[in-house]
Symmetry: C2
Subunit: 209 residues, 2 copies
């Protein structure tokens, strides 16, 4: 399990926002018949509120209304290779938010939430694509979760070996992990002559930094 | 929420093993006072058993003995840019395992589990680093979770737009996401003259493939 000493806990709101804003998907924990389920899903943030969405028919989403939830966003930044098996670790940034989600019923807030979710994954798209139809909106549930109950954990830097192990003739250090965007792959059914838009081409290469 | 039609559910054991074996960390869902907590952590697989570990003092680990757990491993392969906001999605491979974990008490299985967890994150390290001491082993709990209750979901390929939207003069396609290893960063306290070992240097560049 990732070791999480007190030194790794952060309470700064800027840290929380930064970890969330740098992510693409979260892992949503819900209760289904009293058992946890952990589901990868999109999210978006507006101020101190996290938005999630899903099909109104999804069991996991119904579960998210009725019981407490937990949302975790994790960036894995590298593998920490220590001189002992015990001190192997990872460099990471992780935010955990928990509490009860509310179903968003106001149409304006629903659209704002959906926009935030879409823009988190695909910035610049919301304003150029076909907006949700009434039928699509009716089939989509939007959930809001306050960021009030949240924690951030960050581990960076070289291994923390036992003092007596530093003399061992072993290599130790960090193998950094980076996420990068590849070249856009056009839909085979793309209408003729449609160029890749600037906001897709210009998307920053590194998503974790 | 990631849409998960039936076409995306796989039951093939080879798919399950492939998704797990390609991962570095999982998100572990446990119950703490009746609420879900989702924790990023390492894992390893031996056959049809998943191993997790943690400090014997960690509350999340104690929770994992006493109640059902869920482990999810997700690979995010790309962002799917559609012609409509509604059909934006992600390409991903995800495995979910759930059930009750058992505490591993046999010393041989505990070491095998810890080896699998270390090798998942840092292949080749277990045999060269200082092995766990008796004190370290005593401070480490090892959990085993059967892969019996598991599901795999995979989405790949271009967007699935509404038929009438294909004529829109909008770009659509996939923006692929890749994880790559950076150059190894030596520990500032590295003993003089210790080279980067071959198994670290030769680690395949792409971890998601």
């Amino acid at each position: 399990m990732i070791k999480r000493g007190k030194k790794r806990a952060r309470t700064d709101r800027a840290d929380l926002h930064a970890v969330l804003d740098a992510g693409l998907i979260c892992h949503l924990g819900v209760l289904v018949d009293g058992s946890p389920r952990v589901i990868p899903t999109g999210y978006g943030r507006i101020g101190e509120t996290l938005y999630l969405h899903g099909s109104t028919g999804a069991a996991s989403l119904r579960a998210a209304y009725a019981s407490p939830v937990c949302v975790t966003v994790t960036h894995l930044d590298g593998v920490v290779l220590a001189r002992s098996a015990f001190h192997h670790s990872v460099n990471y940034r992780s935010a955990m938010i928990y509490g009860f989600a509310r179903e968003v019923e106001d149409d304006g807030e629903r659209l704002d939430g959906l926009r935030a979710i879409t823009e988190q994954l695909a910035p610049g798209q919301w304003d150029v694509v076909r907006p949700p139809s009434g039928k699509e909106l009716a089939a989509t549930a939007v959930l809001a979760l306050s960021l009030e109950e949240a924690s951030v954990k960050i581990r960076q830097g070289p291994p923390s070996d036992d003092e007596e192990d530093y003399a061992l003739p072993l290599w130790a250090g960090v193998l950094p992990l980076r996420s990068t965007w590849g070249a856009p792959e056009p839909d085979p059914r793309l209408a003729p002559g449609v160029p890749v838009p600037e906001h897709v081409l210009r998307r920053p290469n590194a998503v974790r930094d």
